[in-house]
Symmetry: C2
Subunit: 284 residues, 2 copies
């Protein structure tokens, strides 16, 4: 998707929120907002919003001299999510439709997003409980179920740290012989990197690759050649989160997006209210 005019105030809002989240001092916060205004003016508005997100968070890493400013928050989110994993696993095992429950948990984990700042709670335990009562388009879930059964190999594009623990029941359902998990190439916001995947136990059970970028999305123009080859060769791609949706929704290969609707622009695009659990097949 292109950057929408509504995205511009949102870039600024995210920058202000990030300044607070990372306890930047007043001078740093002002400089961050000024640079975000400049970047908003300079950017090509025909590219998807996560490219701006990348620029803003690069700036924050430069300003703070911290290569991974969200590391402490990511470690906490991972620990909390891992502490809930046994409960998630037994919810899936005890469910009348374990696949559906695993899909809903995976989508619910998408609430652990320190980028968009919807003001929604990122209470991880609540996310798990919400998942069990959420509704998802049953037709899309059935289509996803069949596509996973039919695929020989699947590329699973992750989104945030903590969220990747919520993906584990679904990844286990697919099976480590069939799925490759992709993470970001380097830290950006709280998106999952190889190190976060390791900390979450994913690397022990699955083949994990990186996409080679620090964009909070999957923008193929900048991904590594190896990643693009895997993306193109996979029988099926599953894509988690709104950032991946924003950067891949115009892609013409078959893939499924699993995400929470987080803003009015994507709500208009999908026709579903903010907060909706989405399973969306592409091309639709």
């Amino acid at each position: 998707m292109k950057t929408n005019l509504d995205c511009i105030p949102c870039f600024l809002r995210q920058a202000v929120m990030t300044a607070k989240d990372l306890n930047l001092n007043e001078d740093q916060a002002q400089a961050l907002i000024r640079r975000t205004l400049e970047l908003s003016l300079q950017m090509d508005w025909s590219v998807p919003p996560p490219l701006m997100g990348r620029d803003v968070h690069r700036l924050i890493r430069e300003m703070t001299g911290d290569k991974d400013p969200y590391l402490a928050k990511k470690i906490t989110a991972t620990e909390r999510a891992l502490s809930l994993l046994p409960e998630m696993e037994s919810a899936v095992a005890g469910s009348s439709d374990p696949f559906l429950t695993a899909v809903k948990l995976s989508i619910a984990g998408n609430v652990i997003d320190l980028g968009v700042a919807t003001g929604a709670s990122t209470d991880i335990k609540k996310a798990m409980q919400d998942a069990l009562t959420a509704t998802v388009n049953q037709q899309a879930v059935d289509s996803l179920r069949r596509a996973i059964q039919d695929a020989g190999d699947i590329l699973f594009l992750t989104d945030n740290t903590g969220e990747i623990v919520f993906d584990l029941p679904l990844l286990e359902h697919i099976g480590s012989d069939k799925v490759t998990v992709a993470v970001r190439g380097s830290p950006t916001i709280n998106d999952a990197t190889m190190e976060d995947a390791r900390r979450s136990g994913l690397t022990d059970r699955f083949r994990v690759i990186t996409n080679g970028t620090d964009i909070p999305g999957t923008w193929l123009d900048e991904c590594s050649d190896e990643f693009v080859r895997e993306f193109e060769a996979a029988d099926l791609v599953l894509s988690k989160g709104q950032g991946n949706f924003e950067t891949l929704n115009d892609n013409e290969r078959r893939l499924f997006f699993l995400f929470l609707v987080k803003c009015a622009t994507v709500s208009r695009m999908t026709g579903e209210p903010v907060g909706s659990f989405m399973v969306l097949e592409n091309p639709s």
Copy 2:
């Protein structure tokens, strides 16, 4: 108050919303957002936010070649509010505390604001009904009641068109012999001008003056000399709306602010949640 970092995304959000409200075409909307980004970079962040509001809405008037782009909306708001006036007057007359009811109606009218875009309904009839059940700080209302009784002459700073009709019961309570009503010097957003005051019947019953500016607030540095003299000479000043609060809250003369809290920044300043009915004495 100074412009807060949180105000910057809000400027952009208001510009985007205004583009939609006024049905600007895509090129105009993009140009407006770009210019708002530039203005946000150029502006002195130590001045109150309404000065930026002024710049953005000047730009819109230039771009559209329309001296009063909100005129149709202002006329509609005036007509709707006037159609409710008999009901407001009988609510005041039938109240156990007519002054308090008039104060609450005046504050409730502050919802008719096309600038801040809180997403709150500007349903004028609902505003009137809400007023009758709203709670206001009783101590502040009693202090206001005494201050009005004690004052020989009062300057009443209005805010929006339509809202000025909601001010009528309070203005009638004060009495035309005692009160002078001030409006903006020329159109800005839907703020009330002399023409709007005339259309609302205010000029028939009260002495009405202008502040000489197109700022959606009362920034004395730019108001006309006549207005500043009236402001300084009045025994008491009553100030309606958040824009007047933002531009006058550091002023040291005695005045009362009557407004709805419309954003998180002013909520933090006042310690009251967004949507609160405020009667605030200055200096507090």
